[in-house]
Amino acid sequence: MDFIPKLPLADWIEAIVDWMATNLEGLFDGISDVIEAVVGFFSGLFLLPHPLLFIVIIGILAYLVGKWRLTLFTVIGFLLIDNLGYWQETMNTLGLVITSGLISIVFGIPIGIWSAYSKTAHRIISPLLDFMQTMPAFVYLLPAVTFFSLGVVPGVIASVIFAIPPTIRLTYLGIKQVSGELAEAADAFGSTSWQKLIKVELPLAMPTMMAGINQTIMLSLSMVVIASMIGAQGIGATVYRAVTQLKIGQGFEAGLAVVVLAIVLDRFTQNLFKSNKGRG
């Protein structure tokens, strides 16, 4: 293979990234401002009430979506986080996760619908998603930093890229799974494409889509923790610091806070879909 010189792929990528960083600066700044505002809004919202009040509220919500077992776990878990002194960091992380989760949903669902409707779109999007999911997540951090500098924003961007595929894929799958006869019935009664989507396909795809959203939220949590390496605030930063300073006990405590947050987020999104189904 020596007669073929090494392809300068790395150089090309860097050239593209550089070009984008200089020429699309305005765009990136705009995106940056929006994301920062959203993250700030959520983190601020979660930190607004006293931790105990917040725990009461979240406990009530837990009871509404998942009855008392989830309530018990949520309340005890959050009390523990507060007790260990990671409240602010955890709330920052929650703000990041909610933001990147929301962005993933807002973009992921339409893209999923689009790829369900257009074979060409699906053919392009599908390998792109494979790429996004298998590329080591750290790799996204670097261009994200180039475009958005250090801080919260590149963390959110990287999490969105990393976490959006399940929402897209499962939205696509959910719509594709609607039986042919049901789609035919919608057509046969003279639905417009929009009516068919809203009244038949999306409601039927909902359980599958919710599974995708659940995955997206879990993935964005894991990415948000990693994103602390590039300066995203939150519990991830605590873990990262503890690791670099070899503080095993602190690392474990902060890690535990991540686990509690993960389990609560997971059960919330799962139960949300179950109660949806029950209502029919």
């Binding site: 039986s179 019935a185 003279g190 409601p203 029919g280």
Partner: protein
């Protein structure tokens, strides 16, 4: 039968690359096998033409793979035809744009599906409302129409239940109610009862016929079940390999099969459930009341029979007299009126043979076939019923009698 409402003109559906070109090749005399082999084009429906009249139940019958489901889906363009015309009230469905087609689907043609295709996330009522909802009919009005439609199929008290909670038969009633809620002129029923078990299927067929009495819709009914076709069809089109083999009334299919394929198809049919009294009746020997017993006896002797129907001037049946009574009357000087048996058995001409067995076996006098005005159309003797079942139906003789009476 009424006016033509739906006309299909050389309608075809070909699958595969270059399907358009395939039509031309078919016209040039390519066989389907050759098209499949050389061009990789499959022929789903091959230049089918038919004409469906207002208010009839038109059954399209065929085994699976015969193209009947494809054909019915081209009637509302759920499947785009490759060539040909679908004319509804003379308007070509294929020339319509999306919104015109939608209008037709909303107002003129509804469909009932094999596996019901009810929306599982909507209640029974919401399912039935669907067709009106997409038309943006206001809530009160569509609710009222949907309720009326549900009442028609006997599911009034099930409005707020989800479809999953109903049995198959009930689910299909919902499917039927949903199709009727738009008050369409044409109802497409794609194997609508095939997923139901036989007893329920029978009930649904009866109910459909009953509903049809009231509604007089035009129904295009797809089935693979010959018994079903014969029971409900006013006319039947038999399909094989995407082509039309024969169109006719159930009786025509049975008595004059177009070819060996149709013959084989109908071989196992229980004729007693298909043939009607009008098919096996003979020309009645009659006398009017103003004649005396002597004339009556003379007539019977000439014809070699032992009974005579008595009719009035308008051919209305008054009763029957027997040779025995007549010769008795001759001795005592009684009139025909004195010996008239007025409560002899009589049936309408559309009575099925299997219902005739009971009547003929218990009756002492021959069975009279009368129309709604009590006019005598024909007579059924016991042997004729059995003869017909054994396949001895002489078409010419019967139709002649039909005309004369």
């Amino acid at each position: 039968m009424g006016n033509e409402i739906l006309k299909v003109n050389r309608l075809s559906k070909l699958f595969g690359p270059g399907a358009e070109q395939g039509i031309q090749l078919l016209e040039q005399g390519y066989t389907k096998e050759r098209l499949a082999k050389e061009k990789n084009i499959m022929v789903g429906v091959n230049r089918v033409s038919l004409s469906i009249n207002e208010g009839e139940i038109f059954v399209i019958m065929g085994l699976s793979g015969s193209g009947k489901s494809t054909l019915v889906r081209m009637l509302n363009r759920l499947i785009e035809p490759t060539s040909g015309e679908v004319l509804i009230h003379g308007q070509d469905l294929r020339k319509m744009n999306k919104s015109q087609l939608r209008e037709v689907r909303r107002k003129t043609i509804s469909m009932v599906f094999q596996k019901f295709a009810l929306f599982p996330h909507r209640t029974v009522l919401e399912n039935v409302e669907y067709g009106l909802e997409v038309q943006k009919v206001n809530k009160a009005e569509r609710r009222e129409k949907a309720q009326k439609s549900l009442e028609l199929v006997g599911l009034k008290s099930w409005e707020h239940v989800l479809p999953d909670q109903l049995s198959g038969g009930m689910q299909q009633r919902v499917g039927l109610a949903r199709a009727l809620a738009n008050d369409p002129e044409i109802l497409l029923m794609d194997e609508a009862f095939s997923a139901l078990d036989p007893l329920i299927r029978r009930d649904m067929q009866d109910e459909l016929l009953e509903l049809q009495e009231k509604m007089k819709k035009t129904i295009v009914f797809i089935t693979h079940d010959l018994d079903e076709a014969l029971r409900i069809g006013d006319r039947i089109a038999l399909m094989k390999d995407g082509e039309l083999v024969q169109i006719g009334t159930p009786e025509e299919m049975l008595t004059q099969p177009a070819d060996r394929y149709v013959e084989r198809f109908i071989e196992d049919v229980d004729l007693s459930k298909v043939l009607t009294a009008s098919r096996v009746m003979r020309r009645p020997e009659t006398v009017t009341l103003d004649r005396g017993p002597r004339v009556a006896l003379q007539l019977m002797r000439e014809r070699g029979i032992s009974n005579l129907f008595v009719i009035d001037r308008a051919k209305r049946l008054l009763g029957v007299i027997t040779a025995e009574d007549a010769s008795q009357a001759l001795k005592t000087g009684a009139s025909l009126r004195d010996i008239l048996i007025e409560d002899g058995p009589k049936v309408p001409p559309e009575t099925l043979l299997n219902e005739l067995f009971e009547v003929t076996s218990s009756a002492k006098v021959p069975l009279a076939v009368v129309d709604e005005q009590e006019r005598l159309l024909g007579v059924i003797v016991r042997g004729a019923v059995l003869g017909a079942l054994a396949g001895e139906v002489d078409n010419k003789e019967v139709s002649e009698h039909g005309l004369h009476s």
